[in-house]
């Protein structure tokens, strides 16, 4: 057993369809030139949504997700923020969100352009939170949508699928959420505190990436790990 030494957080740097990007360990993507921050699948109020169906999971996920969001915003200080869909776990989520969290979210939004992209969980604009609701939008050479398009596309950034990477090393399997990209397009990791992941080797991702260029940027404790396609295991 080896001991890991904690270090300061470092972000990953790469190019996506010609745009300079940075990504952080929480799953936020930052466009350096345009100073736009993108987060996907926040699933705010997921705990409450579960509770409505009889599973009383702890109601702290919204607070936890907002804490993460605060750190990402402090790290990059973006001019604009794009929430790439499924920002709330269900359609009633935004209106039922406790005052406390609405106020915190409003503070984070203040002084920035804020865009809500519609997702399948939250097809309607969030209630009373401000910001602009759109189906899709473009910044520089990149297009932002919730649902990834089938086949290979150039310059698309999407969410929805919650990609995760699995590696097997020395008799042990490790799973992490990840940014999935082949340099031309990207599928974002889910950002919310209660969001799981779907293996990048699942059929749902078939045909979306050039295999020889596929890279998973796995979210680590203090850095991102650049995992090549050859390391990515199914299952």
């Amino acid at each position: 057993m080896n001991l890991a030494v904690r270090r300061e957080e470092t972000s990953g740097e790469f190019e996506l369809a010609g745009e300079a990007c940075r990504a952080d360990i929480r799953g936020a993507l930052f466009l350096v030139d345009a100073r736009v921050l993108i987060v996907s699948d926040l699933h705010l109020e997921k705990g409450a949504a579960k509770a409505r169906r009889g599973h009383l999971v702890p109601p702290y996920d919204t607070a936890a997700t907002l804490n993460l969001l605060e750190r990402s915003l402090a790290l990059f200080d973006p001019r604009s923020v794009i929430c790439l869909g499924d920002s709330f776990d269900d359609a009633g989520g935004s209106s039922a969100m406790p005052r406390l969290f609405r106020d915190r979210l409003a503070t984070l939004m203040a002084g920035r352009d804020w865009f809500w992209i519609e997702g399948n969980h939250d097809p309607l604009p969030p209630e009373g939170l401000g910001g602009d609701s759109v189906r899709a939008m473009a910044v520089g050479g990149l297009n932002f949508v919730h649902h990834p398009s089938a086949g290979s596309v150039h310059g698309e950034v999407a969410g929805h699928l919650h990609p995760g990477a699995r590696i097997v090393r020395r008799g042990r399997s490790v799973r992490r959420r990840c940014f999935a990209t082949d340099g031309a397009r990207m599928i974002m990791p889910a950002y919310g505190a209660y969001t799981g992941a779907l293996n990048l080797r699942d059929r749902a991702f078939a045909g979306m990436f050039r295999e020889d260029g596929l890279v998973a940027w796995a979210l680590g404790a203090d850095r991102l790990y650049r995992l090549p396609a050859s390391e990515l295991m199914p299952g």
Partner: protein, 840 residues
């Protein structure tokens, strides 16, 4: 019972009706004294604990009071309402309930008794369950989980109102687990329905019979414990350690060296039962035996992961005596009768004296003939352990673990179940559950917090009031707030949280989407996690190639002629028991006892004495030595792998702080090796690192808390608590497709809860479990207090003989959870190197 008492309540002979006496007589048998004594005591209205070795007629003894009572009952008149269940029999195994039904049916029909007997298990079809509720049998044979389900139904009170006896089989194995906690709560409820209920516990020999005697009755200081009827063991077993001509390996768990000699032993006996500690060991042993099976003797394999059909075929073949040998894991541990076994072989160390006694009891089911057994140690430390176990069995030493207080997650499940049955007053339910032994010491405040947890989650942030699962009515009673929640409860009842299993299914070699291949059995998801496509492994006696996972199935192809990449499935699953550990230490420290060991092992210890030192029984030896570019510290606490692993985690933190620059550690059942960049022996000598301070008990304070916070072991424990308490649901067949991305995993919940609500009741339950379970903190605490002032340090120039086994484990062990980041780093680094070296 209406029968008048005779002057001596223990004189059961006078209670035995004529039909019974004649039945015994026609067989040339006489009722055994303990059977009659138990009959007398139960007839006198007492609860009884029967402790008897296998083969003593325990089952018949347990049922005799019921059969006698039922035989004397007036036949029911036409049109009379159905009488409820008279006797409830609870067994830890479904198979055991079925087995008992078969064994009991014979005397009942031969005596011409009109007694209805039925089983009710997870396999019982729903129409039969319905019918059982309307027309209950006289004797119902079932499991703890089914009892919980029956008690959670609305007609429970009517169903159990006439209950006279409850027979609890294999009680010693039930009470040490959460299943036992759930059962104790069920028993408390049964006593409320039937205050005169008598409990009859059947048990193998245990260390503390008083604990079980108390467990059987309502907790009330004014009432006596259950009576004790004890049968002394029969003939002494003949146990020996395999006296191998081959070299006994220094380390490892395969015992491959012994195959030839084992095969000869099988040939020399009628039927041999070979026990191993893990599934993978059973696979390996089975394959190796067939490799040398020139006479093609019928040798079979039996373990819990095999397909049910295949298991039943093996059991059938065993019953009819058509097998010469069977390789088995603990699935066969409990009291199922296996007929004509005349030799038991135990491969690997038995890990506990009581476990060994149980397993040896499988051979020669007659009390007056000695059982024959051979122990096969897989490595040199196991030789010591086997020796200690043999002596313990002769001495009758018992090392069953002490009973723990009732778990809070189990209580939460029970509270929900009781709400499903009928509305309850909190005061009354508290009064009832504290009559159960494991919960007798529960304080009211904790109970109220559990109640609050069941109702609204029990969170400091109170936002779920409107989603409450149980609610108070106007009269103050609590009821379930929606019928759907009762349904949810029923699907998740029980405390057995198995590692998720996947079905193994054949596809044609190379064939991708071949459908409908046969299923071979089930395999732990944890094990599959370690495989990559193309890897080979042993299952069901075959070498299989892992093709991939599709939905909830693991696809495999035949890989004939290939060597299996045998999984390193950490040694034995059971840690060395405290009792055996102390015996092994005593043996090490006493050269006079080495004569009983095989010569090669004795020689190993002599050289150790020459080159280093052997610690006394209560001492702990620490050796330090350099090797390669690293410095090693090896400690020999002999407290079992789990406690050593925890110790290793805590020690490396402290060594880090002391500047010793530790790099890693490895733990076995016997020892712990830590390596680092600086010479820890030198540091100790010049006062920079005091071993007394290093091993001080204060490590169980802040260091433990710090480490626990992020430990994967605690996460796994939390998952179990979350499932049992009903916070999250078990995975059900057909539901897996919803997938990882939709369900909120226990890990994520744990992280959030720990940060935002660290005093939550479920985290408390988790920590309590960890102290006994995967972390074995309790035992580590005992170790640290035992060795205070008794550390013996030996500085060496090179590795000592005693250190060789643990040194051989380095690099072989599966990497633990804390190292995940390091593995990701490796995977990413390889990529960097490839990139740097690429030329195109």
């Amino acid at each position: 019972m209406n029968r008048p008492l005779t002057s001596d309540p223990t004189d059961g002979a006078t209670l035995l009706p004529g039909a019974f006496a004649r039945w015994f007589a026609t067989r040339g048998w006489a009722p055994r004294p303990h059977q009659l004594e138990l009959l007398g005591r139960v007839a006198a209205g007492r609860s009884v604990l029967l402790i008897a070795p296998t083969g003593a007629g325990k089952t018949l003894a347990g049922f005799l009071p019921s059969l006698v009572d039922l035989a004397g009952r007036k036949p029911s008149l036409p049109g009379e309402a159905h009488r409820g269940v008279h006797t409830l029999y609870i067994s830890p195994l479904k198979a055991l309930a079925v087995d008992i039904e078969r064994n009991l049916a014979k005397p009942v029909s031969e005596m011409g008794l009109q007694i209805a007997m039925e089983t009710r298990t997870g396999d019982t079809p729903s129409h039969k369950r319905q019918r059982q509720k309307l027309v209950p049998p006289d004797i119902l044979l079932t499991t703890p989980e089914q009892l919980a389900l029956l008690l959670a139904s609305k007609d429970a009170e009517r169903f159990f109102a006439g209950l006279k006896h409850v027979v609890l089989d294999e009680l010693h194995s039930l009470v040490t687990s959460k299943r036992g906690h759930l059962l104790s709560l069920g028993l408390a409820r049964l006593r409320r329905f039937a205050p005169e209920l008598r409990a009859i516990g059947l048990s193998a020999t245990v260390a503390q019979p008083e604990e079980l005697r108390r467990w059987l009755v309502a907790q009330d200081e004014t009432l006596p414990m259950a009576d004790l009827v004890q049968v002394q063991g029969g003939a002494k077993p003949e146990i020996r350690i395999l006296d191998s001509k081959e070299r006994v390996p220094w380390a490892g768990h395969s015992a491959r060296y012994s195959i030839g000699e084992l095969y000869e032993a099988i040939k020399a006996h009628r039927t041999t039962l070979l026990f191993v500690n893990t599934r993978s060991q059973s696979e390996l042993l089975f394959q190796e035996l067939w490799r040398v099976n020139e006479d093609t003797l019928p040798i079979a394999l039996h373990h819990g992961s095999l397909d049910v059909g295949q298991r039943r075929r093996v059991e059938k073949a065993m019953e009819t005596g058509s097998l010469r040998a069977i390789v088995a894991t603990s699935t066969l541990d409990l009291g199922i009768d296996w007929g004509d076994v005349d030799l038991v072989v135990h491969v690997g160390a038995p890990k506990g004296a009581s476990r060994l006694a149980q397993r040896i009891g499988r051979s020669n089911h007659r009390l007056d003939e000695p059982s024959r057994a051979i122990l096969v140690p897989a490595n040199r430390f196991e030789v010591l352990e086997c020796r200690a176990a043999i002596e313990a069995n002769y001495l009758g030493a018992q090392d069953t673990p002490p009973l723990a207080d009732g778990a809070l997650d189990v209580l939460a499940q029970h509270v929900m179940g009781m709400a499903c049955a009928e509305p309850f007053h909190a005061d009354e339910l508290f009064g009832e559950i504290t009559t159960a032994e494991p919960y007798a010491r529960l304080d009211r405040d904790t109970f109220d917090r559990v109640l609050d947890f069941v109702a609204t989650g029990g969170y400091a942030l109170r936002v779920y009031e409107r989603y409450a699962r149980i609610r108070q009515m106007k009269d103050g009673r609590w009821r379930v707030s929606h019928p759907r929640l009762a349904q949810q409860y029923r699907l998740n009842v029980g405390t057995i949280v198995e590692a998720p299993y996947l079905t193994i299914r054949y596809v044609k070699a190379g064939g991708q989407a071949a459908r409908g291949g046969p299923a071979l059995g089930k395999i732990e998801e944890d094990f599959l996690e370690t495989l990559s496509p193309g890897d080979t492994f042993l299952f069901s006696g075959r070498v299989l190639r892992f093709v991939g996972i599709r939905e909830s199935e693991c696809l495999v192809a035949n890989a004939p002629g290939q060597d299996a990449k045998v999984p390193y499935w950490a040694g034995g699953k059971f840690p060395l028991s405290t009792y055996l550990a102390s015996e092994v230490r005593a043996m090490l420290g006493d050269p006079k006892r080495w004569g009983a060991l095989p010569p090669q092992v004795g020689e190993w210890l002599q050289i150790q004495q020459l080159k280093s030192v052997l610690p006394g029984r209560d001492d702990m030896l620490i050796e330090t030595f350099p090797r390669g570019s690293r410095h090693y510290m090896v400690a020999y606490p002999f407290e079992g792998r789990l406690a050593h692993q925890t110790l290793g985690m805590l020690l490396t933190r402290r060594l880090e702080r002391a500047g010793a620059q530790p790099l890693g550690f490895v733990a076995s059942d016997y020892a712990l090796a830590v390596w680092g960049l600086r010479d820890m022996g030198e540091m100790h000598r010049n006062g920079k690192l005091d071993f007394g301070d290093l091993f001080d008990e204060d490590m169980l304070g802040d260091d433990l808390e710090d480490w626990l916070a992020g430990s994967w072991l605690l996460k796994r424990t939390f998952r179990h608590c979350a499932l049992i308490s009903g916070l999250i649901e078990k995975r059900h067949p057909g539901k897996e497709k919803t997938g990882r991305q939709v369900t909120v995993s226990a890990d994520l919940i744990y992280d959030v809860l720990r940060t935002h609500d660290p005093d939550h009741i479920l985290l408390r339950a988790t920590r309590a479990d960890a102290a006994y379970g995967l972390l074995d903190v309790r035992r580590l605490g005992e170790l640290l207090s035992r060795i205070r002032g008794r550390i013996v340090h030996k500085r060496l120039e090179q590795v000592s003989p005693l250190a060789v086994p643990i040194m051989l484990e380095i690099g072989k062990e599966r990497v633990q959870g804390e190292a995940e980041e390091a593995l990701l780093g490796e995977a990413a680094q390889d990529e960097m190197i490839r990139e740097a070296m690429e030329t195109k």
